[in-house]
């Protein structure tokens, strides 16, 4: 077990310099999700205009894996249609199952592939993506 497989530089960068952290002043689709087994929490906000995720922000508390995953996800879905965003979420699930998936739109996500070797941490990585699915469902 190599820790560096899990905590890659890209992940630590997103953890220490989170993108899209914050809240919208005005209306947005808001999803609050928590992980009851560990206490991690995310509040995801999506601005959806004409079937496209125009902007995304999040606040929350959690470990480096869950928070860096939220940072990457919110960056990756910006400008994507809802279908494209769902397809990203599907591919992320495959990545967590150990499949070889590429994210040519947003390569940082591939750094999370190592999480697959740490079964206890998969739910950390998927928290933000589950919030995304719920947000899209709500739309």
């Amino acid at each position: 077990m190599q820790l560096d497989d899990l905590y890659r530089r890209v992940i630590m960068d997103h953890y220490k310099n989170p993108r899209n952290r914050g809240k919208f002043e005005d209306d947005a689709v808001t999803v609050d999700l928590n992980n009851p087994t560990c206490g991690d929490r995310i509040s995801l906000q999506l601005k959806v205009e004409n079937g496209v995720v125009a902007d995304a922000k999040y606040t929350g508390e959690g470990c480096s894996i869950s928070m860096s995953s939220a940072s990457m996800m919110t960056d990756a879905v910006k400008g994507k249609s809802l279908e494209e965003a769902l397809s990203l979420a599907d591919r992320f699930s495959s990545l967590m199952q150990g499949e070889d998936v590429e994210f040519e739109e947003y390569e940082d996500i591939e750094a999370l592939s190592g999480v697959n070797k740490f079964p206890a941490r998969i739910k950390c990585a998927t928290l933000a993506w589950n919030a995304l699915r719920k947000g899209i469902d709500a739309k």
Binding site: M1, Q2, L3, L6, Y7, M12, Y15, K16, T37, C38, G39, D40, R41, E61, G62, C63, S64, I65, F118, A120, R121, C124
Partner: protein, 406 residues
């Protein structure tokens, strides 16, 4: 001495991620000595049968083994008699039995249930449910900044409307021992009963339910070297006799008619269905094992280890320890700078060290501490100062690994 104890736990002698295992998650569950594993195996190989039914030889062997285990539990916590020991799945089921049977029948609107914010969810939600169902009010004993409670606050909170006080003997997060004997005295003065959650005390110290004077006492086998799925409820005889069963079926009946039935005497009226026989046998073997070493010796060993761990951990820069500075029990809950406990636990696991990270089934307490989660190292009779040293050096490496996150 400690080497001889460690030899008896097969699971400890393995490498995890290339390092010798250091198991520091004993407040979650303990490891099992060979004698317990063998007792369960022997039961299935030589004694297995249903209890209190068969006329055949195996039926008697199984019944003797099961009822023998009940007597061991009774003696272990100094119950007046073994009929006051009801086998349950664990502490959770034991507490729920008191809530569903006793508390629901005695509580009404305006009555009070007194507890603390630091209770494990299993000693909090059952009372919440009773309050919702009966209109009773929950009252929380205030916590001091170090996580202790003051007897005078209990004195002020308990009134003649209080029907029940529920409290852990030892907190599973803060590592404090609550003054349950004094609280029992206060409760009784107001005509209330006291329910003691003994999940974290029974494995680690000498427990005397008669000396405490508690009305109910719940324990889990798996935290004291026994298998999972077995625990017990102790209750005062008069209370248990007056209580209605909450599970109905085989084993617990006296006479069954088409429209009405009657129950067996104590303790069997609360043990509907085929009981956890092998688990009880394992618990009996675990009690023999612990008593052979001696509860006093175990208590002393853990007290020494807790003091050593507190000293070593407080030397570490950036460590926040929750609970009082003085420890008598081997539970140390902490955070390492801003590093999330999950990240700490993962880095430690990579070095073969098992600790708990999360809310420890104490969400209200986490809110009170103003943290979302914490890391927890908890010790047992087989842990050593070397284990603490391994923990501390791994924490130093964790800080280095996460760099300026601390």
């Amino acid at each position: 001495m400690i080497a001889r104890i460690r030899e008896q736990f097969p699971i400890l002698h393995q490498e995890i991620n290339g390092h010798p295992l250091v198991y520091l998650d004993n407040a979650a569950t303990s490891q099992k000595p060979q004698v317990v594993i063998d007792a369960v195996k022997r039961y299935y190989e030589w004694e297995n049968s249903n209890v209190h039914r068969g006329v055949h030889t195996l039926g008697s062997r199984a019944t003797d083994a099961y009822e023998g285990a009940r007597e061991k539990v009774a003696r272990f916590i100094n119950a007046e008699s073994s009929e006051q020991i009801i086998f349950t799945r664990g502490t959770t089921t034991a507490l729920n039995l008191v809530a569903s049977s006793y508390a629901r029948s005695v509580c009404g609107p305006g009555d009070e249930i007194v507890l603390t914010e630091m209770e494990h969810h299993s000693n909090l939600i059952p009372w919440q449910q009773v309050a919702i169902a009966t209109g009773a009010t929950l009252k929380y004993i205030p916590l001091q900044p170090d996580g202790t409670i003051r007897v005078e606050d209990v004195e002020a909170l308990v009134t003649d409307r209080t029907k029940l006080v529920a409290i852990a003997y030892v907190s599973n997060v803060m590592g404090v021992i609550h003054p349950v004997k004094q609280i029992a005295e206060i409760a009784h003065r107001h005509g209330a009963v006291i329910v003691v959650d003994g999940a974290q005390s029974t494995p680690h110290m000498k427990v005397d339910v008669q000396d405490i004077g508690c009305d109910f006492y719940a324990l889990s086998g798996h935290k004291m070297c026994a298998p999972t799925g077995i625990g017990a409820l102790y209750g005062k005889k008069a209370l248990l006799e007056a209580m209605e069963p909450i599970e109905f079926g085989g084993e617990m009946i006296n006479d069954v008619g088409l429209y009405e039935s009657t129950w067996k005497e104590l303790p069997w009226k609360f043990e509907g269905g085929t009981p956890i026989i092998a688990g009880a046998v394992g618990l009996g073997a675990a009690i023999d094992f612990l008593q052979e070493i001696g509860m006093d010796a175990i208590e002393q060993h853990e007290e020494k280890l807790a003091a050593y761990a507190m000293n070593r951990l407080s030397e570490l820069e950036g460590v926040t320890i929750y609970g009082p500075r003085e420890r008598k029990v081997g539970i140390v809950t902490f955070n390492l700078g801003d590093i999330h406990p999950h990240d700490v636990a993962t880095v430690l696991d990579a070095q073969g060290i098992a600790i708990r990270a999360g809310h420890h089934c104490c969400q209200p307490l986490m809110r009170w501490l103003k943290v979302s989660s914490t890391a927890r190292a908890s010790f047992y009779l087989y842990n050593t100062e070397e284990d603490v040293d391994r923990l501390v050096s791994a924490l130093i490496q964790t800080k280095e690994y996460f760099g300026d996150a601390t």
